[in-house]
Every structure is written in C-alpha cells, then in structure tokens.
C-alpha cells in the first residue's frame, strides 16, 4: 500500500491540526473562512485550552496551526503558546500582525518552537486592503519588519490567492525575500464569508494555469499547505501529499471546541464532535462517526472515469459543498472544465456555513464590498419588497 493510501484510511492522531482560538477579530476580511468578528461567549477557557494541549501532547500531535479570528487578541494567547511549546506541541500561528510589536517580536525570536505566519492578500496596499480592510497592509508589513529587526528567522507570509493577486506572485516573492520570510500560498475557498465573494474573487481558469506554472517553477521554496492539489490535473503533481486530508490527517478545533473535518468546512455536515464531550478530542478523532466514514475508500463518483482523477482526487470537499456540488463529483475549479459544467447544472441554493460571528456594524477601516448595486431593481420605482420573487 502506498503511503498516501495509509493516510487516506486515517492515522492514530492528526499530523497537524488547525486550532482557532477565538472568533474575535480586529478585521473583517471579506473572504474570512470562519465568518469571524465577534468573540463567542462559549469559547474554551484557559484551563480547557490547556487540557486540550495536554491531550495533544499525549497523542503526539507534533504541532498546531493556531488561527482564528485573530488569535493574539485573546488575553491568554502567549500563556497558551508557552504552555504548548513546554509540552512538546509546536506552534505555528497566523496573525494579521495587530499585536506583533517589537516586544512581541523579541519574545518570538527567543523561542525555538514557534512559527509565525503573517496574512497578506495583496503585495500592495491597494490590492490587500480591498479584501482585508484599510490599513491592514501597513499593519502586516510593520509586523514583518519587527520580526526581521528582532532577528526572528524565517517568518511566513501567508497569501490567499485571488483573482486580484495572481498577477502579483513575483511581487509577493520579492516582499518575502525583503523580510527574510518564506512565501506561503493557499487556495481561496467558498467557506464562511468566502461564499459571498467566491464568484468575484476565485481565480479564472487562465490564472489557475499561471499559478500552477509559477508553483512548478518555484518548487519546494514556496509553501502551499498542500492546498492546490486540484491543480495537479494540469500535469505533474505539485510537491506535497496531493490528498484531501479532511478527517484523515488534519482537522479543525474551533473556538468553542467543536471538531470539524477541516478548517474550510465549518458546517454541521462536517462536525464530528466536541472536545468537551467524554473522551475528549481523542475520542472524536479516533471514533466519531463522521471521521470513520471519511476514512472509508472513496469512489470518485462522476470523476472516477476521468484520466486525471489519480492526480487531483476530485479536488476539495469544502469547495464542492459550499458551491452546491455533490461531494463525489468535480471540484468547482476543476482544471479540465468539468466543474464549470457541473455548476451550470446546480439548481438548489448552496448550503450556508453554520454559525456567523461577523461584526454586526462593520469595523473601522473595514473592507468595502465591491459588488453592491450590481443588481438593479426590476422597475425604477419598485418599492414592493416582494419584487422579483415568483410567488
């Protein structure tokens, strides 16, 4: 059996997992995969979070990818980071940079077991701030500068690839080089608020090709979190496992302790359990009904007869689910074009993410959606709220 086949049937513990510490965030990015903004009153306490870390240590989960929301706004953030690294659980955390001042950078530079990812979705303020909010580019770059000046080595710049920044890949690389950072590119998903902007932001087919060629040219020097395996159907496989790891080698623990199959699948259909239930995280990982089902052999469904199925594995489960496509068919961004055909046949509304912690009144400097007003009223003076509805 090949190694990836073993992975597909599940491991005793995840290789790594994403842990979102809070739904609170100072920003309101238009594509936020967890619809973050406001803290949830049920979020894990410090003691509960430490109990999760104890469990991860027992299961030998080597590291966690901490995110949010904005994890650093939790008052016990550094306490939890220190607790994890003291218990053989390495930490990689994603931040928009809001709390990475010089003092924090000095602290990080002194630790051997913490990696930092600064999120940037444009290589220029113009492109970045349209998605992440006014001032967010300057904030991220300031954080990168503090990390560099403190002697922190090899920070990461984490980029969600969109229609507006694919043309900036070289500029991102130059920015990363300038700050002694490694570039990390990941795929936009129609998850959380990302569902609202997917049609406008996901890369065009030509851009997917451009991205694939760029990734092939840059090889292992650029990180991808294994998120572009659907592009492998363009030709040779990209570095990485080329496998949907949901519930098999990865999962998500959300701020209230819910365990989902992957960070991009915050929906009841992918909820496996909660770390607060008897048996804790280990019970959910090893015995939940959902994860057991995900580890069964997958049929490939409509994709099984495609010659590229071995390389792309049908693509991303979350991308299919939140665009209303069946899970055993093509990815909406299938590079052979089958996704577009399938999308044309979707008649029912796509499932909505479970839970929404978005800010209710917007945030200072928040991004201004660019799609408002595209749909005109049916008639110039139409005031009937049922206008346009077939009743």
């Amino acid at each position: 059996m090949k190694l990836v086949e073993h992975f597909a049937t599940g491991l005793d513990a995840p290789i790594c997992l994403t842990w979102e510490l809070t739904y609170a965030c100072n920003l309101a990015c238009v594509h936020c995969l967890s619809s973050s903004g406001r803290r949830d009153p049920r979020e894990l306490s410090t003691a509960e979070a430490k109990a999760v870390i104890d469990e991860l240590q027992r299961m030998q989960v080597f590291y966690v990818n901490i995110g949010g929301g904005e994890p650093t706004v939790r008052s016990d953030f550094w306490e939890l980071v220190d607790y994890a690294t003291a218990h053989q659980v390495g930490v990689k955390f994603s931040t928009n940079g809001v709390r990475i001042d010089r003092a924090a950078a000095d602290r990080l530079a002194a630790s051997d077991y913490v990696d930092v990812q600064i999120s940037l979705d444009g290589a220029t303020a113009e492109v970045n701030d349209a998605v992440r909010g006014h001032g967010s580019f300057a904030m991220a770059v300031a954080a990168l500068g503090h990390l560099r000046d403190a002697g922190f080595r090899d920070s990461k710049i984490s980029v969600v690839c969109t229609r507006h920044n694919i043309s900036q890949l070289d500029a991102f690389k130059a920015l990363a080089d300038e700050y002694g950072a490694t570039l990390r590119l990941t795929r936009l998903r129609p998850s959380g608020r990302g569902a609202d902007v997917w049609d406008d932001l996901h890369p065009t087919m030509a851009q997917q090709r451009e991205l694939y060629d760029w990734l092939v040219a840059h090889g292992e020097g650029v990180l991808t979190g294994d998120s572009f395996f659907h592009l492998s159907a363009f030709g040779s496989a990209l570095p990485g496992l080329n496998l949907c790891g949901a519930g098999r080698v990865v999962c998500l623990i959300d701020p209230v302790g819910d365990v989902y199959a992957c960070p991009f699948a915050i929906h009841d259909a992918f909820l496996a359990g909660n770390v607060r239930s008897p048996g804790g995280f280990q019970e959910v990982w090893q015995h939940s009904e959902l994860f057991t089902e995900l580890r069964q052999p997958q049929s490939g469904g409509a994709c099984a007869s495609c010659q590229h199925y071995d390389s792309c594995q049908g693509g991303c489960m979350a991308a299919k689910f939140f665009t209303g496509l069946p899970l055993d068919g093509p990815d909406p961004e299938c590079v052979q074009g089958y996704g577009e055909l399938a999308l044309a046949g979707v008649t029912a509304a796509a499932p909505k993410p479970t839970g929404d912690h978005s800010h209710r009144g917007g945030v200072r400097g928040g991004p201004v959606p660019v799609t408002i007003g595209l749909r005109r009223p049916d008639k110039a003076c139409e005031e009937n709220p049922l206008a346009g509805l077939a009743v």
Binding site: H6, L11, D12, F62, Y63
Partner: protein
C-alpha cells in the same frame, strides 16, 4: 555511532511511524515497522550492524539506505 537526534519525536502508526524534528520542522515517514524497530534500537546498540542484527541480510542494504537518508535530513545524528 548513529542515534536519534534529541529534538526528534517518534510516533508509531499502523504503517510504520512519523518522525518530527522540532528544530528543522521536518516531517519524515518510516514506511516499515521494522525500520522503526531498528531506529529505536540504535540508542542501545554499539554499531549500525548491531541494530540491524534481526534484519535478514538480503534486506540490510535497503535499511542502510533508509538510515542514511534519515541522517542526511538530520533525523539521525
């Protein structure tokens, strides 16, 4: 004499084992339980040959290659 790098953690899995190096952040896979046995035995052995004692002679070259790869990637030192 080869031994496991002090910053490397070993997690047995049904297919073999996962190795994680906390210093380099590198992840490696041992695709054979017997290779895991050999790696775990290195610490108490006087030589690589000693650690390979239970491996059939015909298979030892492949095990040596695997150990050498682990050494190159810093998992063994």
């Amino acid at each position: 004499m080869l031994s496991l790098h002090p910053q490397v953690s070993v997690r047995p899995e049904p297919f073999g084992a996962l190795l994680y190096h906390f210093g380099t952040r590198r992840l490696s896979f041992l695709k054979d339980r017997r290779l895991l046995d050999v790696v775990q035995r290195l610490d108490g052995s006087t030589s690589v040959d000693d650690a390979l004692a239970d491996v059939p002679a015909a298979e030892r070259p492949a095990f040596r290659t695997a150990l050498s790869t682990l050494e190159k990637t810093g998992m063994l030192t």
